[in-house]
């Protein structure tokens, strides 16, 4: 649509109106404005309604009309009309030609009534008004455009300045945060060049400011770095991760170690490409040292400084863990010989000094890092060798240890001799548990000790099994007594002169719930070690004495039967021996002369008078004392005189040669000599282990008084003796 067409269309409407309503100058002006408004309203951006806009144009039209008719003619007011259009937001360029078209076609028509102006003059004036309006419009539009451009530019600049100030403030805050932070902060570029560090970081490193800045991140490698941490750092640099956190050590300026909790973050640019790394470091050196100290305390023995039992077990378990390829281990278990005596006689302070000295020497025996010396108990030490080349290496270490201990330790001006027993276990990792290895070493060490100490022993699975079974029996002994698992068998003692029953030896048996009946040799030594022998011995004495009394009552007319009860070394040392024995006899109403206590020869070897006194007291009261197993303990024959004995029990080894004919003449000579000696000392002789009639006959001829053995009867229930004596009596 062109301006002219619009103007023409509008004019026809205006003409129609013109004829029917008032036709004064104001009405004509209003109609002119209406035509004008319809021509340009669609092209304006005004928010005025069409009516408001038309009124606005009415004002402008009045200016045009007045200028058109003014004398003298002056077109300049049309400049203001052009500006008025711009003011009414007729900024669209189409408004100008449409306006000019409306003026061209209708201004004279509506505003020059009655041919006030000559036609030529009117046309010329109209043209000049159009020129001025166009100039005014252009100038106003230009002004307005420039003004708005300036305003928006100014606003943009101001907004930018505000944003920059805010950015600057924000940066200042960041800078203050960086500068004053308590944590260390450092920034490096992606090549690892350190760009900036804050004061806290410099302080952590011991005042190392410019040196820090000139270094590269990779210069801070430390031998104790967490394995793999540099790989993780590379991943960060490649942008594969955005941060990582690790505990990392550094060297301070003074070469001491600085431990930090390090967090490294990747800073990317707006395109997401890695640009910088940001490191935040927290000084955890103190905490770390405390941890180390606590860890050391937890894993080391406070007295000697050697690794302790938990630490040793940790290493042992590691050494024993199954792995690819064969790995061996070796263990030396050392227990000092006679350490208790040192402690008891010289005091704990000296004992502790001795342990420290031993620890120092052991420590010196370890020749490489795969050898660990630990203290795992009072005077118990272990040396662990991880993956020794050979069995010989383990033995060599045991030798070194014994050798190291061979020089006396000088403490408080006294030379103390240190000896130790070592149990050696070695083998292939993955086969035994740590506990099993240690138990085997312990058992083996005891074998070395039992063999006299100051030596090592090599582990032996069979010996281990024996020891373990002994161990389990020892553990079940106390409950066995409570549960009544013990019982007594009696083996008759027969008078050789007439074959009559002289008495019986009470022999204790253990009816073990799993192992069946066990003989005294299988558990008496264990009871001896644990001290259970005292209550067990008393129980045996009670039972035997009561049984003897029963027999007495059963066969009133017969000769009283003697009851032999074994007395173990521990019982011998027990202070209540005499009183206990008398009380048992009293309760059973058995006279002391019916009781014979058998004491082994070895228990009395080198016995002091103190030890003999209770026996003497008992003997004085009429209790017979027999020396058991005579001939096995290298007795000092001269001692026999001062002992309160009534009987010698000859060990079966002397009489074995007489079981068959012809009898061993040497045995005969020896027995003959012993019998003669015994009888000289007014002692009876009893022979054990008689198995044949031939033997019995020889012994009778040799003058032995009594005998016991399978030839007469095996140990059995009390009724067996009863029937024997009955048989004997008939």
């Amino acid at each position: 649509m062109t301006a002219t067409q619009t103007a023409t269309g509008a004019a026809s409407t205006a003409d129609g109106v013109a004829g029917s309503v008032q036709d004064g100058p104001e009405d004509r002006l209003r109609r002119f404005a209406a035509i004008w408004s319809r021509a340009i309203y669609p092209a304006t951006a005004t928010s005025m309604t069409a009516k408001e806009f038309e009124e606005h144009l009415g004002g402008l039209g009045r200016k045009l009309r007045d200028a058109l008719l003014a004398r003298p003619f002056d077109p300049s007011p049309a400049l203001g009309v052009g500006a008025g259009l711009v003011q009414a937001h007729c900024t669209d360029a189409h408004t100008l030609p449409r306006t000019l078209g409306v003026i061209d076609a209708y201004l004279l028509l509506y505003c020059s009534p009655g041919k006030v102006l000559p036609a030529d003059e009117g046309r010329a004036r109209c043209a000049r008004l159009q020129h001025s309006l166009a100039a005014g419009y252009a100038q106003a539009l230009r002004e307005r455009t420039l003004c708005e451009q300036e305003a928006i530019s100014r606003a943009a600049l101001r907004a930018q300045a505000e944003a920059e100030k805010a950015l600057h403030d924000s940066e200042a805050r960041f800078r203050a945060m960086f500068r004053d932070a308590a944590v260390g902060i450092g920034i490096a570029d992606i090549e690892g060049n350190i760009l900036d560090v804050n004061d806290a970081l410099s302080r952590m490193f011991g005042g190392w400011d410019h040196q820090l800045r000139s270094r590269k991140v990779t210069d801070f490698w430390h031998p104790e770095d967490t394995p793999g941490v540099w790989k993780v750092h590379d991943e960060l640099l490649r942008g594969e991760r955005d941060h990582y956190q690790v505990e990392k050590p550094y060297y301070r300026k003074d070469a001491t170690v600085l431990w930090t909790n390090l967090t490294v973050s990747l800073l990317r640019d707006t395109e997401g490409e890695p640009r910088y790394t940001l490191a935040v470091l927290e000084d955890i050196t103190e905490r770390r040292l405390l941890n180390d100290r606590l860890r050391h305390q937890a894993t080391h023995d406070a007295l000697t400084g050697l690794p302790n039992r938990p630490q040793f077990f940790e290493r042992l378990e590691a050494a024993l863990a199954p792995r690819h390829g064969e790995a061996r281990f070796g263990l030396c278990y050392l227990d000092l010989d006679g350490f208790k005596a040192v402690n008891d006689s010289l005091g704990h302070a000296v004992g502790d000094q001795l342990l420290v000295a031993v620890a120092d020497r052991l420590h010196a025996c370890a020749t490489s890092a795969d050898q660990l010396m630990a203290r795992i108990g009072g005077d118990e030490f272990v040396a662990l060798i991880e993956n020794p080349a050979s069995h010989e290496d383990v033995v060599a270490l045991a030798d070194r240890i014994l050798d190291a201990l061979s020089t006396p330790v000088r403490i408080e001006g006294r030379d103390l001799t240190v000896r130790g027993s070592i149990g050696i276990v070695d083998g292939t990792a993955g086969e035994l548990s740590a506990a099993a290895v240690l138990r085997s070493a312990d058992i083996t060490m005891y074998r070395a000790k039992a063999a006299g100490g100051n030596r090592y022993a090599l582990s032996d699975p069979e010996a281990d099994i024996r020891a373990i079974s002994r161990h389990s029996l020892t553990n079940s002994l106390p409950t066995a007594l409570e549960r009544g698992e013990f019982f007594i068998e009696y083996q008759p003692l027969v008078r050789l002169s007439d074959g009559s029953v002289h008495g019986a030896e009470a022999l204790v048996r253990w009816c073990h719930p799993l192992r069946g009946v066990l003989g005294p040799d299988q558990f008496i030594p264990l009871a001896e070690n644990t001290g259970l022998i005292v209550p067990l011995g008393r129980w045996v004495l009670e039972q035997a004495v009561r049984q003897a009394r029963t027999w007495q009552l059963e066969q009133r007319d017969a000769r009283p039967v003697l009851i032999n009860v074994n007395l173990s070394p521990a019982q011998l040392h027990h202070p209540g021996l005499v009183t206990d024995t008398l009380q048992v006899l009293r309760e059973a109403e058995l006279e002391p002369t019916a009781l014979c206590l058998e004491v082994t020869e070895s228990a009395l070897i080198g016995a002091e008078e103190d030890l003999l006194r209770p026996l003497r007291q008992l003997a004085d009261l009429g209790v017979a004392i027999a020396l058991d197993d005579f001939g096995t303990g290298y007795s000092n024959l001269a001692n026999l005189r001062r002992m309160p004995l009534s009987t010698l029990k000859l060990d079966r080894s002397f009489t074995r040669g007489m079981q068959h004919t012809p009898a061993d003449p040497v045995d005969i000579k020896i027995v003959e000599g012993i019998v003669s000696l015994a009888h000289t000392l007014d002692l009876d002789v009893t022979v054990e282990g008689v198995e044949t009639g031939m033997q019995a006959e020889h012994l009778r001829v040799l003058g032995c008084d009594t005998a016991q053995g399978w030839y007469y009867a095996r140990p059995g229930p009390p009724e067996q003796l009863h029937s024997l004596s009955l048989a004997d009596a008939t």
């Binding site: 928010s47 455009t145 708005e148 928006i152 100014r154 606003a155 944003a163 924000s170």
Partner: protein, 270 residues
């Protein structure tokens, strides 16, 4: 590293700004070539855009007058853009010289310009805030200084809600503002839509795409969707209608057909 929320955004004059493009549609020169370029492209797709913006302004004028007639003389104009002519405070003052107006925009350039325009103008101020964060608008110093929230306020959301996509919760934002206003307050709202006008789905898609490219995604919504923004308000007659049809001053049969796109409405908080 993520920028902390208190660190400022920079100003990038190389991307078009919605408010400067709007100014260009209205024949203003408060814009840069990048804005004009974007506007020209949009007008190629939808030539009626300048008329639509004019219709928006015209509706706003009528609605402000309506508010003053209802006795509401406090105005909160969110998304005010670049003040050119016929601004809320001018229209309101013409009807009621004591009217108070707070403009809100999140475009820093628009804010700076508004500040310059409003310099020395009493009882009118610009607040830099975002419709997506209504609580910040309500807590702004300008709102606190100029508006008494215990008395009715006319909340103007003229040609702004279509710049908030659904994921940014425009309904919650409107509801938050509604809840903060006293009974008797008004919601004055226009919203772009392809419903009602002579525009095709292709045109709608083209314009949406264009604004997406500008970084200011535009979502046209249906009449029903627009009506839902008035939840909690009672719609004043004639309800949600094409802009020229809302209480026109004169017969609308001479209006450009393109301006019947989009909807306008005024709600009254009971």
């Amino acid at each position: 590293m993520e920028r902390p929320s208190w660190a400022p955004q920079g100003i990038d004059l190389s991307v078009p700004s919605v408010s400067r493009v709007y100014d260009y549609y209205l024949g203003g020169s408060h814009n840069f070539e990048v804005d004009r370029e974007a506007a020209r492209k949009a007008m190629q797709i939808m030539p009626g855009l300048p008329k639509i913006m004019q219709a928006n302004r015209a509706f706003m004028r009528r609605a402000v007058r309506h508010a003053v007639e209802q006795g509401v003389t406090q105005f909160l104009d969110i998304g005010s853009g670049i003040p050119t002519f016929g601004n809320v405070h001018e229209v309101a003052r013409a009807a009621c010289p004591e009217a108070r107006v707070v403009y809100v925009d999140h475009d820093p350039v628009a804010v700076a310009h508004s500040r310059a325009v409003l310099e020395g103008v009493d009882h009118a101020a610009i607040s830099a805030a975002d419709l997506r964060e209504p609580e910040k608008i309500l807590a702004g110093p300008e709102v606190n200084r100029l508006l008494d929230l215990d008395r009715p306020v006319a909340l103007l959301l003229v040609a702004v809600l279509h710049f908030i996509v659904d994921e940014e919760n425009p309904r919650e934002a409107v509801a938050a503002l509604r809840d903060a206003l006293a009974p008797g307050s008004l919601l004055v709202l226009t919203h772009a839509s392809t419903e009602g006008g002579p525009h095709s789905p292709e045109q709608r898609g083209g314009v949406e795409q264009l604004y997406d490219n500008m970084g200011s995604p535009l979502r046209m919504r249906s009449r029903a969707e627009v009506e839902r923004f008035f939840d909690g308000f009672e719609l004043a007659e004639p309800g949600v209608v094409p802009m020229p049809d809302w209480r026109p001053d004169a017969p609308t049969n001479e209006e450009d057909p393109s301006v019947f796109i989009g909807f306008a409405g005024v709600g009254h908080k009971p």
